[in-house]
């Protein structure tokens, strides 16, 4: 039997407020394409919150977000989440990977092979027995991605995974993300970097102050933005309040 597809991701009238301030305001869209979807927008646009709701970490106040009619739960193993600032267990690199496999009850006999593959994939083989917490920022983010990738998810949600990295670290992570996307894992990633969005995106969701301003293919978004806000953002101007 074929596993059920996880797309489309249907977002309907999604709103989320804290202390009376709307952080997401009536967001409506459908994500159904494979490849890399970039959620773009300045700080405070609601990018991370949208990703958190998409992983089931937060619940919307109004509206719904469903993966092929399925309300997300954080423990779904077909979808993983990568934080901007990862927290690792006080164990070595491979033990951190094994922890995820144990959580999702992967057969013990497969652990060694899966860990080896994830380490090779992310270039961490030589750091396998190093304490995860003593790794450099770039290495930690590679481990963060290895930890999300080891379950062979159909969807990976990444919340500004390169925000704290130097240019070479950014390049390594972007290369990893592209490779993972080519292996048929749907990538939805937030960033405030226009350059990064240009390098990675197949389609763009442009958010500003909790509102979805545009959802278009990347080439269209960068060449012919439909709104003044997107035009200004691409031109590097400060965005006005809506």
């Amino acid at each position: 039997m074929q596993p059920a597809p996880v797309l489309p991701l249907e977002i309907q009238h999604l709103s989320f407020a804290r202390q009376g301030k709307p952080l997401l305001d009536n967001v409506n869209t459908i994500i159904e394409s494979v490849g890399i979807t970039i959620i773009l927008g300045p700080n405070g646009a609601g990018k991370s919150l949208l990703l958190r709701i998409a992983h089931g970490l937060d619940l919307p106040d109004h509206g719904s977000l469903k993966w092929n009619k399925h309300i997300p739960q954080p423990r779904d193993s077909w979808r993983t989440f990568v934080f901007q600032k990862p927290v690792f267990l006080q164990r070595n690199v491979q033990a951190n990977l094994e922890y995820v496999l144990s959580l999702h009850k992967t057969a013990k006999t497969e652990h060694d092979a899966l860990i080896r593959e994830a380490l090779q994939h992310t270039g961490l083989v030589e750091l396998a027995v190093r304490s995860a917490r003593t790794l450099s920022g770039g290495e930690q983010q590679r481990l963060n991605i290895a930890r999300a990738w080891i379950l062979k998810p159909k969807v990976m949600l990444l919340d500004e995974p390169t925000a704290e990295l130097d240019p070479s670290g950014v390049a390594t992570i972007e290369m990893l993300i592209k490779t993972i996307a080519q292996q048929n894992t749907k990538i939805i990633m937030s960033t405030h970097s226009l350059d990064q969005a240009k390098r990675l995106a197949h389609e763009v969701l442009f958010l500003h102050q909790g509102k979805l301003i545009e959802h278009t293919p990347a080439n269209v978004f960068f060449a012919q933005p439909k709104t003044r806000l997107a035009e200004d953002f691409i031109a590097g101007k400060l965005l006005n309040r809506i």
């Binding site: 954080p74 990862p86 033990a95």
Partner: protein, 234 residues
């Protein structure tokens, strides 16, 4: 001052001669306190973690009680355990009063709240740091407790030893429920109190020195084990 140094020398002599009476007292002290620490840890580590992680009605009250019980006066604990275990008490039929078991029970009552309250705080801090990440990785609340207890194992060892320190140094409760009976329930602290009141300063001082040395040895052993484990696992 001369008396003091003479007493000190005699005390050292007693220790170096492995005085039989002295060894008996030291052994019983360690047996009672280590058993009490073991039992209290079995209760308090999961209890402290559960209080940190699970919300339930009356949790605030339990935490307030636990924090209050951290400073329980040993003589009061001794008195309560004495009343429960005495012939007319609810557990009088077990005949436990004036036995090492009674002393273990009293020490468990004294140190369990300490270990539980410290564990609760340790797990609370770790949970603040790791909760979101563990949840995002797919951990259920049921598996989170085990993960966090293991994650904080080095701090928890320190918490358990705070309990051991309290147990081994405690005199009031074990004196009341143990009775300080020679060759049966005499431990270091009760012996020190007795010998001092009798004027046998040498034995009291020797016991005092051993008590401090033991604490030093046990603490150093645990710190080294902790350091070695940290190197292996991290």
């Amino acid at each position: 001052m001369n008396d003091f140094s003479q007493a000190f020398l005699k005390a050292a002599q007693l220790i170096l001669q492995f005085d039989e009476g002295l060894i008996e007292i030291v052994t019983l002290s360690l047996q009672v306190s280590m058993t009490a620490v073991f039992i209290a840890s079995m209760i308090s580590l999961p209890l402290g973690a559960a209080l940190a992680l699970y919300k339930f009605h009356g949790r605030g009250l339990v935490v307030a009680l636990l924090n209050t019980f951290m400073g329980l006066p040993p003589v009061v604990v001794g008195l309560v355990v004495y009343l429960i275990l005495s012939r007319s008490g609810p557990l009088g039929a077990l005949g436990l009063l004036f036995t090492p078991t009674a002393m273990i029970i009293a020490q468990v009552c004294l140190i369990a709240p300490i270990i539980a309250a410290l564990t609760r705080q340790t797990i609370l801090d770790a949970n603040d740091e790791c909760h979101e990440q563990l949840r995002a990785l797919g951990a259920r609340s049921s598996s989170m407790m085990g993960t966090l207890l293991w994650e904080t194992r080095y701090s928890l060892v320190t918490n358990v030893f705070a309990g051991f320190g309290r147990a081994i140094a405690e005199v009031g409760a074990v004196l009341i429920v143990g009775g300080n009976i020679n060759h049966s329930t005499r431990v270091m602290t009760t012996a020190i109190a007795l010998e001092t009141s009798k004027g046998d300063i040498e034995l009291a001082l020797a016991l005092g020195m051993i008590l401090i040395m033991l604490s030093l040895i046990v603490t150093s052993a645990v710190m080294s084990a902790r350091h070695a484990a940290y190197k292996i696992y991290s």
